[in-house]
């Protein structure tokens, strides 16, 4: 094929033009590679933040919020009475605690913003299509009041020290969040065995045990082997657990049946932790649960992702909007530059191309020559661009800028009679708010490089077509006429 050696000669002997065209395309597609790699790195960073949440195995959590759709009216009479008993009368009559001057300690359990429901919902949800497994959990606030019965007793104090005057000096309120966990389910629930950073998971028997949140343990100076008190019962601390950013965090975790007994909520739970058969099934399962389980609220990992903020999110938004725009502009500019350079080259070679026609080259072979040259420059640009992109991505990874992922406290409507601590995380209990620093990487994979080369070839094809059209219009007589 003569024209291949002709193309090779053209590219080799007109190095300036070849490199200029190829570099134009290379910078364009190199930017595509770098921006795509950066955006993949940002996705990875977000996954890294969310991974502990989704990675523990919970795809969906199901709760029954106080302001549920359908409201109380949709519930049975018995269910309504149960909920009233649990929530309606959380008051502590100090006079009940003994004679004036006596020391006392009393603990009452309050639901967080979510209401409880019968444990039988577990089986209902478990029977749905696409559900792999379900674990139940019960998260409550244990409010312990201790002090001395006042002389002028007889007046009730609100259960939670919120607003108005506050309690007398000699009365001490302490609020601890407690989650009941099905110890048989090591990988699904309010915490999983994987989150235990020190010590062990619960034993399978009925010995009284607790796993304590690391930050609570640090505040209280609790270590593995110590005991914690929940409503007068001593629990042996068998492990410390760390809650992921954005995840649910209770102070103390204990066996579900023991908490149900202590809190007088036999067979009652307030969170279902659901694992779907596959990530693709999550959406369908969520909808199914919402339909079958009256007044439920379903949260999945996407809802969580929406709550991640900070510079990570800003960078993601930037990469999404500006990055895409920049990429398109850079590509268009690269295509335009390549086309203009090819056009000017054809114009400069008017006599040369006219001579080819004069010595008998058919039209299509002259056009093919021009297009082939541009395509070859595109290929060169693609390889250069891939190299530029890989270099830029490697530079980003090497520098490894740190991005901050922030999860804000949930701003959920608090219940009527207001005061329970904010909840609404993935499950019950307070959301583990705060920030995490993530090192940014920019991974480049083979499909991305192929895309880069493909785009550069496309640029070459566009430039070649423009140049080819111009070349097609040249007349063989230009061999004799054109002055250069």
């Amino acid at each position: 094929m003569f024209y291949i050696s002709y193309i090779a000669s053209e590219l080799r002997r007109r190095k300036g033009r070849t490199l200029l065209t190829a570099l134009g395309l290379a910078v364009g597609v190199g930017l595509v590679v770098a921006v795509s790699a950066l955006s993949a790195g940002l996705d990875d960073a977000q996954d890294e933040v969310l991974e502990p949440l989704t990675g523990v195995g919970t795809d969906i959590s199901v709760t029954r919020p106080i302001d549920a759709k359908g409201g109380f009216e949709s519930l049975s009479k018995r269910e309504r009475r149960q909920l009233q008993d649990e929530n309606g009368d959380a008051r502590i009559g100090l006079t009940n605690q003994g004679d004036p001057g006596d020391k006392f300690t009393t603990t009452s359990f309050l639901a967080t913003t979510q209401l409880s429901f019968p444990a039988s919902e577990v089986d209902e949800v478990a029977s749905l299509d696409g559900v792999k497994s379900v674990a139940a959990g019960l998260t409550l606030n244990a409010t312990t009041v201790s002090g001395t019965v006042p002389e002028d007793g007889g007046q009730d104090q609100p259960g939670v020290p919120s607003g108005g005057g506050g309690p007398p000096d000699n009365i001490d309120f302490k609020s601890t969040s407690v989650s009941g966990v099905d110890q048989a389910q090591k990988s699904l629930g309010a915490i999983s065995a994987a989150q235990v950073s020190k010590g062990n998971w619960f034993s399978q028997g009925d010995s009284r045990e607790a796993i304590v949140n690391t930050s609570y343990a640090n505040r209280q100076g609790i270590e593995v082997g110590d005991t914690v008190m929940v409503k007068g019962k001593r629990l042996k601390v068998v492990g410390l657990a760390t809650s992921p950013l954005g995840g649910q965090a209770s102070d103390i975790y204990m066996k579900l049946d023991q908490l149900q007994q202590l809190a007088d909520r036999k067979d009652r739970v307030n969170t279902l932790y659901v694992r779907a058969d596959s990530a693709d099934a999550v959406g369908a399962v969520s909808r199914e649960i919402e339909q079958t389980f009256a007044s439920s609220e379903v949260t999945d990992a996407q809802d969580l992702a929406d709550r991640v903020g900070g510079s990570l999110q800003d960078a993601k938004d930037l990469a999404g909007k500006l990055g895409t725009a920049l990429t398109i502009v850079a590509l268009l500019a690269a295509f335009l530059i390549a086309s203009l350079l090819t056009l000017s080259s054809v114009t400069k070679r008017t006599r040369e191309l006219g001579t080819l026609k004069a010595i008998g080259w058919p039209q299509r072979k002259v056009v093919r020559q021009v297009t082939g040259e541009a395509l070859a420059q595109g290929a060169l640009g693609g390889v250069l661009g891939a190299a530029i992109g890989v270099g830029a991505a490697a530079l980003i990874t090497a520098v490894g800028p740190e991005l901050k992922a922030t999860v804000a406290e949930a701003t959920q409507a608090s219940g009527p009679g207001g005061g329970p601590p904010p909840g609404g995380g993935f499950g019950q209990g307070a959301v583990q708010a705060g920030s995490e620093l993530i090192k940014l990487t920019a991974p480049v994979d083979a499909p991305l490089l192929l895309l880069a080369i493909g785009l550069a070839l496309l640029g070459g094809l566009v430039a070649g077509s423009v140049g080819g059209l111009r070349a097609a219009r040249l007349r063989p007589a230009d061999a004799l006429r054109h002055i250069d």
């Binding site: 000669s9 006599r351 063989p476 004799l480």
Partner: protein, 238 residues
């Protein structure tokens, strides 16, 4: 035998009042194996004539017959094939492709024929040998003298064994000695083969190499007959 015949051929560049009749109602017959020179002052229409004879352009009116086939009835690709197989061109500026070596420039003429690379390569080498340039086969045009470049161009024009060689001022860019060498080469070619040569020049001394001379003025043929002997031209020039 008539090879090319022009019947009332007119070529007008531009349109209407600003149109220029570069060739104006020309009648001409060229027989197979003839060597003729077209002479005339600048702007008389010599190059335009050559373009019409060489199927590089179509006349505004009249017929250009090649072996009694009207070129007007041939498609662009048929004309390209005719140029490739039957016609050879030599230009004043040599018109070599600057990025190709001497050999590759000759190969460029063979390219449309789709010969195997080795055969193409060998034939190009052989042709360069014929014009005395075998040792310079792998040189780029910029590494060759004007005369050498024109030899490469002649080798390229001969590549497909054409029946007609068309040359527009082939010595115009060369000094007298080199020009005479090139003319000698063309004469030798003409004598040793049945080639038809049409040579355009404004130099009567060069034209004297051809047995027949067509004189043009203002797009018309002013005279057509045997060329003046070289001695007469020399005297005139002195």
């Amino acid at each position: 035998m008539t090879l090319i015949k022009l019947n009332a051929v007119t070529k007008i560049y531009g349109e209407g009042a600003t149109g220029v009749s570069a060739v104006d109602g020309v009648e001409l017959r060229i027989d197979d194996g003839e060597f003729l020179a077209i002479v005339g002052p600048s702007g008389s229409g010599k190059t335009t004539m050559l373009q019409l004879l060489g199927a590089l352009d179509r006349p505004t009116s009249g017929e250009v017959l090649f072996e009694s086939t009207d070129m007007a009835r041939m498609s662009d690709s048929e004309l390209a094939r005719l140029r490739s197989t039957t016609l050879g061109f030599i230009f004043q500026q040599f018109n070599l492709i600057p990025t190709l070596t001497a050999r590759q420039n000759v190969e460029a003429a063979l390219a449309p024929r789709g010969l195997p690379a080795a055969q193409r390569h060998g034939r190009a080498g052989h042709l360069l040998g014929q014009v005395g340039l075998a040792p310079r086969a792998d040189h780029l045009p910029t590494q060759l003298s004007g005369g050498e470049q024109q030899r490469v161009a002649i080798a390229r024009a001969l590549a497909n064994e054409p029946r007609v060689l068309l040359a527009d001022e082939p010595t115009g860019n060369l000094d007298t000695t080199t020009g005479e060498e090139i003319m000698g080469l063309l004469q030798e070619l003409w004598r040793s083969s049945g080639l038809t040569i049409v040579l355009v020049t404004h130099d009567r001394a060069i034209a004297a190499a051809a047995p027949r001379m067509v004189r043009m003025r203002d797009g018309r043929i002013e005279g057509d007959g045997p060329s003046e002997p070289v001695s007469a031209v020399r005297e005139e020039a002195v």
